[in-house]
């Protein structure tokens, strides 16, 4: 695999002191990499540095192994799709799309052909004569994507392109984007604060927090093996229980959690709701009282009261008869993670045993 975009030790400090620091990752050819993180963590700052709209304070940006960070954006082989206000309202769809081609002095016939082709790709054939104001929000973003594609960029940059759209449309466009990406073997850097979006479309996720990178991994790993408390909190749902570790054991009530890495100090145990299940054997059961049931479509979120604290679990709709409000059930924990006080995960690989004495 060849590296298409590499960001090396990038820092951007705004006069206010905010910004991003030590950003270091790469995007392989044909890969879709997501920058994920809460608002204000610096995703846009990184993306705009790549696009050439921000001057980084230090560090290097290379596209196809050529340094680009000293080039103005019109000279960079990247194209950007913005969150909103992408299109030029005084031009028709055709003129919006043809703008870059006309600058390149492409022949009229060829422009016509290319525009038609890209409109087919984004499912908007026959829209050439419309003005942006005559398009829906979703159509506008599709045209913006089409315009970026016409630049034939080596790296396509997208800054929350669907976040102004409603949930259903967002899903649709997400899938279309993935399709177009594989059809054209595009290399993409995609910014979002929506973890579900990131998990569903990415080859690789760069989780950011407060101006730095927390974790770089594929979606599976980021979900299954978050390497910090922050990532665990930000991605998916997780139950957290505070405790104290002495060497390899954490004692909470009658339960002893055993982990591989010897550590003494305050810790947080993290358990995903789907890792809590009705006990199937007689050993290692925990008694839990059903405190609350919330139906969420095809599954229910159940709040349990246990001796180690309040826990949430997910139950399929079909199995709901077994769960009666206020009744007591035996549960088992299939997996848990342990985080140090600093937020670092104690043992990056999940495993771990617990005992009920």
């Amino acid at each position: 695999m060849t590296i298409k975009l590499s960001i090396e030790n990038l820092s951007k400090i705004y006069p206010t002191g905010e910004g991003v620091q030590n950003i270091d990752f790469h995007v392989n050819e044909g890969e879709l990499v997501t920058l994920l993180g809460p608002s204000g963590c610096g995703k846009t700052t990184v993306l705009r540095s790549v696009g050439g709209f921000i001057d980084p304070t230090s560090g290097a940006i290379k596209i196809s192994n050529k340094e680009v960070h000293h080039l103005p954006s019109e000279k960079r082989p990247s194209a950007m799709v913005f969150q909103s206000y992408n299109l030029w309202p005084h031009m028709t769809v055709f003129d919006n799309l043809a703008f870059s081609l006309k600058l390149k002095k492409v022949k009229k016939k060829e422009i016509q052909m290319k525009v038609e082709e890209v409109l087919t790709l984004v499912h908007l054939t026959g829209m050439e004569k419309k003005y942006p104001s005559e398009l829906s929000g979703g159509q506008q973003q599709r045209i913006a994507l089409a315009r970026a594609l016409l630049l034939e960029p080596e790296v396509l940059l997208l800054d929350e392109p669907f976040s102004a759209l409603d949930a259903k449309l967002r899903h649709e466009l997400r899938e279309e984007l993935r399709e177009i990406q594989s059809k054209r073997n595009l290399t993409m850097l995609f910014v979002t604060h929506d973890q579900e979006e990131a998990l569903s479309i990415s080859d690789k996720i760069v989780v950011m927090n407060n101006g730095h990178i927390e974790q770089i991994d594929n979606p599976q790993e980021v979900y299954n093996a978050p390497n910090s408390l922050f990532v665990a909190q930000f991605i998916g749902r997780m139950n957290f229980i505070k405790g104290k570790s002495v060497n390899n054991t954490i004692q909470i009530g009658d339960l002893t959690f055993i982990h591989n890495d010897a550590y003494t100090g305050d810790v947080t145990i993290g358990i995903r709701p789907e890792d809590i299940q009705l006990a199937t054997a007689n050993t290692r059961n925990i008694e839990a009282q059903i405190d609350k049931i919330m139906m969420l479509g095809h599954f229910a979120e159940i709040t349990l009261k246990t001796m180690i604290g309040s826990l949430k679990m997910f139950v399929d709709r079909q199995q709901m008869e077994q769960f009666v409000l206020k009744s007591t059930i035996p549960i088992q924990l299939n997996n848990f993670l342990v985080f140090k006080e600093t937020g670092e995960v104690l043992n990056n690989r999940r495993m771990e045993v617990y005992e009920n004495i």
């Binding site: 696009g51 954006s73 019109e74 913005f82 299109l87 030029w88 102004a164």
Partner: protein, 273 residues
């Protein structure tokens, strides 16, 4: 009554207000128009007794009057052009660049219009005397431009602010240099605002009397300046004819601008957010 039945009381009241408003707004204009074509018209009559074009031929045949008209239009055109050239870059700077005294600068434009005009003009006149600008064409142009700086900066500046940064950046991304971006994206998008500002500037220059009087008399007499003497020396009908001529370009320009601005970019703003 059909009207009452279909629309109800509230609509009736609205209608009455509309009529009053129209009367208030167009009444004087209508009166002016009638007066301009009147031969003989006494107070209680609603319409003139005798119609006549005498004063029209008087005004249009008087060489000095016709010359003043040309002069007025020439000055207005030059003033509009020059202040366009000066103000568009300034307006863009105000809209885009965050420099420290931005607010102060914008405020200072307002200030020139806050003082009583005559006071400002007298101060300027003193300066003009020293610079030998009194009684010169340049002097008149300058004093008009001082008046129009405000429209020409404020209105286009607001228009430029409506062009989003991402729209300019998208054009950069597409391969356009900063100058091309300004020419192909920013300027066309701000065009409606700039046209409105030009119309305002042109009209305010066309109607400017005080400053022109102070700086230009006796060599340069524009329409509004001559108007004073006509009102003083001739029957009101002559004044009316002159007013109509002076008002006509205002109305034509406003309609033209509305049509142009309306048909073009204005309607094509974004639906999204």
């Amino acid at each position: 009554m059909w009207y009452l039945r279909t629309f109800g009381k509230r609509k009736i009241i609205e209608f009455i207000f509309l009529c009053l408003f129209m009367l208030f707004f167009f009444g004087p204009l209508l009166n002016l128009l009638l007066l301009a074509f009147a031969g003989e018209w006494q107070y209680p009559d609603i319409l003139p007794k005798v119609w006549s074009l005498d004063w029209w031929s008087f005004v249009l045949q008087d060489d000095s009057l016709v010359r003043s008209m040309w002069l007025s239009f020439l000055i207005a055109a030059i003033v509009t052009l020059i202040s366009l050239i000066i103000c568009i870059p300034a307006a863009y700077a105000f809209a885009r660049i965050q420099f420290p005294f931005r607010r102060f600068f914008l405020f200072s434009f307002l200030l020139t219009n806050a003082f009583p005009k005559m006071g400002l003009y007298v101060a300027i006149a003193v300066l003009f005397y020293q610079m030998n600008l009194m009684n010169t064409f340049t002097g008149i142009i300058l004093i008009h431009i001082i008046n129009t700086l405000m429209f020409m900066t404020w209105i286009p500046s607001a228009a430029f602010e409506n062009v989003h940064k991402s729209q300019e950046e998208a054009a950069r991304d597409a391969g356009a240099s900063p100058i091309r971006v300004f020419w192909h994206i920013t300027l066309p998008m701000a065009k409606p605002g700039i046209i409105v500002a030009c119309v305002f500037t042109f009209l305010s220059s066309l109607n400017e009397a005080e400053g022109t009087f102070l700086v230009g008399v006796p060599n340069y007499q524009t329409m509004p300046v001559i108007m004073y003497s006509i009102i003083a020396d001739y029957p009101s009908t002559a004044g009316a004819v002159f007013s109509v001529i002076l008002t006509l370009p205002t109305i034509i320009l406003l309609f033209a601008a509305r049509r142009f601005v309306g048909a073009d970019t204005f309607a094509n703003g974004f639906k999204m957010k």
